[in-house]
């Protein structure tokens, strides 16, 4: 579905990527992680053709982004930016959602149906002014107008920065829902707890290079990789690391609680 082959990007000295290759299959939920300036946002922009690779190729469903305009790719890829205010350009919630739909579809009936569906899914009232909504609600609106066109791929570039925990979870739950229905999701995120909770696969960038690519839990066990990328592992993972043997493969509070209870019962049994 998404295939990068030996992609380099070096038009801009602040944003360089070197020799990146990977492919992402339909329905995956992948996170791109790394420190500020590691090249995460650049990589996202290469995926939907906003940036073109200097060498190598990026293919989306067989389309080479080098020869396809981003506005054409928009039918397949929804791109959620950090700041919703750059996307929202209409005076009511309904118009904002319609704006995106009408760009890509002509059938009136179909458009009306999609609008209704998204409005009820997000619980928006159609006539609200987007600029009276809170930051978190505006981010949800931006996501709603992307989802309205039902893209096959969702790219999220730090979608939860500036949101509080509640708003963050709201956004992520919708994304998870879309993923379950078959949407491929690629997300840039700084919050490792969120990455751990939602992503199945993690790509680690450092200094413009892909230094690790694998199943989320196994990547969070690679201490040297995390250190090289200046990442702070999720708390349960670092706690498990400190506790050492017997605590491998523990990543959530539930798992940790269970294991500790088991061990303390064992200890009691021995004492008895």
């Amino acid at each position: 579905m998404i295939r990068l082959q030996n992609v380099c990007f070096n038009y801009d000295r602040d944003r360089t990527l070197t020799d990146i290759s990977f492919h992402i299959n339909k329905g995956e939920f992948a996170a791109i992680i790394g420190a500020n300036g590691a090249g995460k946002s650049t990589l996202c922009r290469l995926l939907n053709g906003l940036l073109k690779p200097s060498s190598g190729s990026v293919e989306i469903n067989g389309l080479d982004t080098g020869h396809t305009k981003s506005s054409v790719l928009a039918r397949q890829i929804g791109f959620l930016f950090q700041n919703p205010d750059r996307q929202i350009c209409r005076n009511t919630v309904a118009e904002e959602i319609l704006f995106g739909l009408e760009l890509l579809y002509k059938d009136r009936e179909f458009i009306a149906e999609r609008l209704e569906k998204v409005l009820s899914m997000f619980g928006f009232s159609a006539e609200d002014n987007p600029f009276n909504l809170s930051r978190g609600e505006r981010q949800r609106l931006a996501l709603a107008s992307l989802i309205a066109v039902e893209p096959e791929i969702l790219i999220l570039d730090e979608p939860t920065t500036g949101l509080d925990y509640k708003e963050c979870i709201e956004i992520m739950e919708i994304v998870r829902e879309m993923n379950k229905k078959g949407t491929t999701v690629i997300m840039v995120c700084h919050d490792m707890e969120v990455v751990l909770d939602y992503a199945e696969r993690v790509l680690v960038l450092s200094g413009g290079k892909l230094i690790a690519d694998g199943e989320t839990r196994s990547v969070f066990c690679m201490n040297d990789v995390l250190e090289q990328a200046s990442l702070i592992p999720p708390q349960m993972a670092s706690l498990a690391g400190r506790l050492g043997s017997g605590f491998e493969d523990v990543f959530t509070v539930e798992e940790m609680t269970e294991l500790i209870l088991e061990k303390s019962n064992e200890k009691r049994r021995v004492e008895v």
Binding site: N36, R135, L163, D164, Y165, E167, S230, Q235, T257, I260
Partner: protein, 280 residues
């Protein structure tokens, strides 16, 4: 040092009170973290402390804010800036110059700091945040984290007694955020600067702050030491504030009856806790 009594504020055209009967005193040398969901009134509270409310934003204002006995209602934000240095969220609008050195100079010139003192002030401010090497760089060429430090240095050069920061690390990655907070801690511990910081990431506050204030819908919900606040994690979660995972873990273990100590606020403590449960 700062005393807020019965402060209520509603922005002009606002539908509800942004600040609702706030009573708070902040002592010299404190490191206070302010947290809460968005729209809870955190930024408004910082505006009330540095005088932007009521001098820049109009609205219904009741109660009083006193900085070392001086009422902010009668003092302009510029005059208050002699005591309180503020660093805002949007770094691009905050920086006024094209070169780092000039950025530090800007406030010093405004304050008419004597020329003989200026060189020393600039170099010590840059040193305090560890960016002496950036002195002659153009601001445009800096990364977000570096700009954040320049903004802090520009404020520090004015030698404020109180430092007020609104989500200073919102654009930074976790590692750079921790670095930034280390600088704040050093300023607080070694230079006696009172620090008030608005922060969403409670993990950073639990590690670096001395006290935490939790706001919700314009009111203060909890105000106490880090441990006192984190201890009430169920209330925090109800409001929509995410507690550190180690805190949830210690709470779970308490519920299960295998742990009776105090709540954990960082990984070190959690390790000790687990070892005390499972080791002999």
């Amino acid at each position: 040092m700062i005393k807020i009594s019965n402060l209520t504020f509603r922005y002009k055209d606002g539908r509800k009170n942004a600040l609702d009967n706030i009573n708070l005193s902040i002592n010299k040398g404190d490191f206070l973290g302010i947290t809460g969901t968005s729209g809870a009134g955190k930024t408004s509270l910082t505006y009330a402390i540095n005088g932007v409310i009521p001098h820049h934003y109009n609205g219904d204002y009741y109660g009083s804010v006193r900085i070392e006995g001086e009422d902010t209602f009668d003092t302009s934000p510029s005059a208050l800036s002699l005591k309180i240095g503020s660093v805002f969220q949007d770094i691009d609008t905050q920086l006024v110059s094209s070169v780092v050195e000039d950025e530090i100079l800007y406030g010093l010139e405004n304050f008419s700091v004597p020329a003989v003192e200026i060189e020393q002030r600039i170099s010590s401010a840059l040193e305090a945040v560890g960016i002496s090497s950036l002195r002659y760089r153009s601001i445009e060429s800096l990364s977000g984290g570096q700009k954040q430090k320049v903004a802090l240095a520009a404020i520090l050069a004015l030698r404020p007694k109180i430092l007020l920061l609104d989500e200073p690390t919102s654009e930074l990655d976790p590692e750079s955020s921790v670095q930034f907070y280390r600088i704040l801690r050093e300023l607080n511990e070694n230079h006696g600067i009172t620090i008030i910081v608005v922060e969403q990431k409670i993990m950073l506050l639990s590690e670096f702050a001395k006290n935490i204030l939790v706001m919700d819908t314009g009111k203060i919900v909890i105000n106490g030491s880090v441990r006192e606040v984190i201890d009430r994690s169920s209330l925090l979660e109800e409001i929509g504030i995410n507690c550190p995972r180690v805190t949830s873990l210690s709470n779970r273990l308490k519920e299960e009856g295998v742990y009776t100590g105090s709540v954990c606020i960082n990984v070190e403590e959690a390790e000790k806790m687990v070892r005390s449960i499972i080791d002999d």
